[in-house]
C-alpha cells in the first residue's frame, strides 16, 4: 500500500515554537519549558489551543523523563487538558507523521506535535542509554553506549574509505554554523587539530565527534488547507513523509550503510514526486548525532553514492552558500543533542529557511527542504520529511 495523499487535502506546518536549546535549563520545570515553546507556536500559528486544536501528540520516553506513564503529564502545558492527546515513544518526526495522518483522515483540522529534552535532569544519562541495549547480549559487556556508534563508524569508514579529516570537518562546519543560530547551544570555531586530538571515548569515536546533550522543547502546529486559508497562515507544506526501521539486533542489522535512511527516503521521495533529491531539494537538515552520521545519512538519502559525501563536504558544497546546504542550523552537533526532540529541531530549521526567516544563515531562494532524524544507538530507526513553500 502506498501513501500518495493525492485524493485528500494538503497538510501544512503553520506554527513553530522553540524554547532553548541550552546545555542546562535549570530555572524552568519541564512543564514550564514546554509551555514557553507552546505559546510561541500558537502565536506563530494564530491558534487558540483551548478552542482550535483538535489533536495533540507528545513525543517522549518514560526513562528520559524520569516518570513512568509520563505521557499522562503531557497535556496541560500544551493547552490540552481534557482534550484528544496521544503520546509517541519516539522521535518528533514520527509525531509529525502521526499528525499528518490524523489530519488526512478528515477527522481533525488542526494538530499539535511536541517533543522535549530534559537531559540535565538526568543524573545517570549513560545508564539510561545503556538500558536501551539488548539485555541478554549487548548489555552484558558494560561498555559505554557509544561503543555501538564506534563499531559502526569503523565499519562505515573502512568500507567506503572515508577519512578522519572529512569527519572532523563535519564537526567544524556544524559548530561554526551554530554561531549563526540563536537556538543553538554549541556554537564555536574549531580547527581540525581540536577535533582530531580529542580523547577517544570508544575508538575510533572521539569525544568531539559525539554530540552533547541539551535541554529544550519544540512545539509544531499543523493544519489542513481550509485552516491555512481561513487563518491567512504562512504555511510550509508537507510534500513527503515516512519512517523506517532496519533490524535493531546487532547480529542482523546493517552496519555499513544507513538502511533506514534509504528505506524511508525512497517512500518519501515517491510521495513528493522527487526523482533527483540532490537537484530538487534546496536545503538539508540531517541527523549528525555522531559526525560520521551526517555523511552516511546523506548517502543513505540518495544524494551521493556511499563514500562520496566526504568529497562534496571538503569542496564546501554543504555550507549555507554551497550547492547542497547541510545542517546550516548547526545540526545536532551545533544545536545540541535533544534526543527525542532532534527531529523537530531539523523541522524547525527547514520551516525557518523556507519562510525566509533564517537570518544570517538563510539559504537564498530555498523552496524545498528535507529533514531527517535518527533515534540514536542502538536503534536503526529514521524518519524523513520533505517540506515545501509551494
Amino acid at each position: 500500500m502506498q501513501l500518495t495523499g493525492e485524493s485528500m487535502e494538503k497538510v501544512a506546518i503553520i506554527g513553530v515554537g522553540v524554547e532553548g536549546f541550552r546545555p542546562e535549563i535549570r530555572d524552568l520545570s519541564y512543564k514550564e519549558m514546554v509551555y514557553q515553546a507552546a505559546v510561541k507556536a500558537y502565536s506563530d500559528a494564530d491558534i487558540n489551543p483551548r478552542e482550535e486544536v483538535d489533536t495533540f501528540i507528545s513525543c517522549e520516553e518514560d526513562f528520559s523523563m524520569g516518570t513512568s506513564i509520563t505521557d499522562e503529564y503531557a497535556p496541560d502545558q500544551l493547552g490540552a487538558a481534557q482534550r484528544t492527546v496521544h503520546t509517541i515513544t519516539g522521535d518528533g518526526i514520527q509525531g509529525i507523521v502521526a499528525a499528518y495522518m490524523q489530519i488526512k483522515t478528515g477527522m481533525f483540522d488542526v494538530a499539535v506535535v511536541e517533543a522535549q529534552s530534559r537531559s540535565s535532569d538526568i543524573k545517570t544519562h549513560n545508564q539510561i542509554q545503556h538500558l536501551a541495549f539488548d539485555p541478554l547480549y549487548a548489555r552484558q559487556f558494560d561498555a559505554i553506549y557509544h561503543s555501538a556508534g564506534a563499531l559502526e563508524k569503523r565499519m562505515y569508514t573502512s568500507e567506503f574509505g572515508v577519512s578522519e579529516e572529512a569527519i572532523a570537518n563535519v564537526v567544524i562546519k556544524n559548530h561554526e554554523n551554530a554561531l549563526r543560530n540563536p537556538n543553538a547551544a554549541y556554537g564555536m570555531r574549531l580547527k581540525e587539530f581540536d577535533v582530531l586530538e580529542a580523547e577517544m571515548v570508544a575508538s575510533p569515536l572521539r569525544d568531539t565527534e559525539i554530540s552533547s546533550s541539551v535541554d529544550g522543547s519544540i512545539v509544531v502546529v499543523l493544519a489542513n488547507e481550509k485552516v491555512v486559508k481561513e487563518k491567512d497562515s504562512n504555511p510550509v507544506w508537507i510534500k513527503g513523509i515516512n519512517y523506517a526501521t532496519n533490524s535493531p539486533n546487532f547480529d542482523t542489522r546493517e552496519w555499513k550503510k544507513a538502511k533506514y535512511a534509504e528505506l524511508s527516503a525512497k517512500k518519501a521521495y515517491q510521495m513528493a514526486g522527487i526523482k533527483n533529491p540532490h537537484d530538487e531539494i534546496d536545503v538539508f537538515e540531517v541527523d549528525d548525532t555522531y559526525a560520521f552520521k551526517e555523511l552516511q545519512h546523506l548517502e543513505g538519502l540518495g544524494l551521493f553514492e556511499y563514500g562520496k559525501a566526504a568529497e562534496a563536504l571538503m569542496n564546501g558544497e554543504f555550507s549555507n552558500k554551497g550547492s547542497t546546504p547541510v545542517n546550516v542550523s548547526g545540526g545536532v552537533l551545533g544545536m545540541g543533542n535533544a534526543h527525542d526532540a532532534n527531529g523537530l529541531q531539523r523541522i524547525s530549521e527547514i520551516v525557518e529557511q523556507l519562510r525566509g526567516h533564517a537570518g544570517r544563515r538563510q539559504v537564498k531562494g530555498a523552496k524545498t527542504g528535507l529533514a531527517f532524524s535518527w533515534r540514536g544507538v542502538p536503534t536503526t530507526a529514521g524518519a524523513v520529511a520533505i517540506l515545501s513553500k509551494e
Partner: protein, 154 residues
C-alpha cells in the same frame, strides 16, 4: 561529548532528588537458552533457515527474512573461528566512568554463519579488519555469554 558531572551543589529548592529502583529477570527464551547451554559445553550453536540459506548466530526461533519458524532440527554447532569485521577500544564503562584498563569489543563473522557476533576481542595486539580470530573459553562456565572470554586474533 560525555555528559559533564556536576560538581557544584545545586540549590535544594530548585530540584528534588529521585530515582527509579527497577529490577528484572529477563527471560532467555527457547533459542537463547539452547545457545547458553551450548556455551556451557564449549559449543557455539547457531541455526539455519533452509529456505533462505541463512545461518543465525545467536540462534532464533524464527527467520527475520521469511518469518518461518525455525524448529529444533535447525540448530547446529558452528566453527569456533571467524573473521574480525569491526572493533572498538572501550575507554569508559556504561556509567561514563573512565576505565583503568580499556578493552576491546568486536563484531565477528563466525565461519559458516551470516550474522555479526558481538563479543570481546582479547589478547590481540594489532587488530585489523579481516583478520582471522578464534574463540577463547572461560574455564568456569555457567551457561552465559561470558562462558566465552572472547575472540583472539590468530
Amino acid at each position: 561529548m560525555l555528559p559533564t558531572k556536576r560538581n557544584a551543589k545545586h540549590n535544594s529548592v530548585r530540584e528534588v532528588e529521585g530515582s527509579f529502583p527497577i529490577h528484572f529477570h529477563y527471560t532467555a527464551g527457547i533459542s537463547t537458552e539452547k545457545f547458553f547451554l551450548g556455551l556451557k559445553e564449549k559449543k557455539i550453536l547457531g541455526n539455519t533457515c533452509a529456505t533462505c540459506n541463512f545461518t543465525y548466530l545467536p540462534p532464533k526461533i524464527f527467520c527475520e527474512d521469511c518469518f518461518a519458524e525455525l524448529g529444533n532440527d535447525t540448530y547446529k554447532e558452528v566453527p569456533q573461528t571467524g573473521i574480525l569485521e569491526s572493533y572498538t577500544e572501550i575507554y569508559y564503562d556504561f556509567r561514563g566512568d573512565k576505565l583503568e584498563t580499556p578493552y576491546f569489543l568486536a563484531l565477528i563473522k563466525v565461519d559458516e554463519t551470516d550474522t555479526m557476533f558481538y563479543h570481546k576481542l582479547i589478547d590481540t595486539e594489532n587488530p585489523k579488519i579481516g583478520m582471522k580470530v578464534s574463540a577463547i573459553w572461560n574455564d568456569d562456565r555457567k551457561g552465559s555469554i561470558h562462558d566465552l572470554n572472547g575472540f583472539k586474533g590468530i
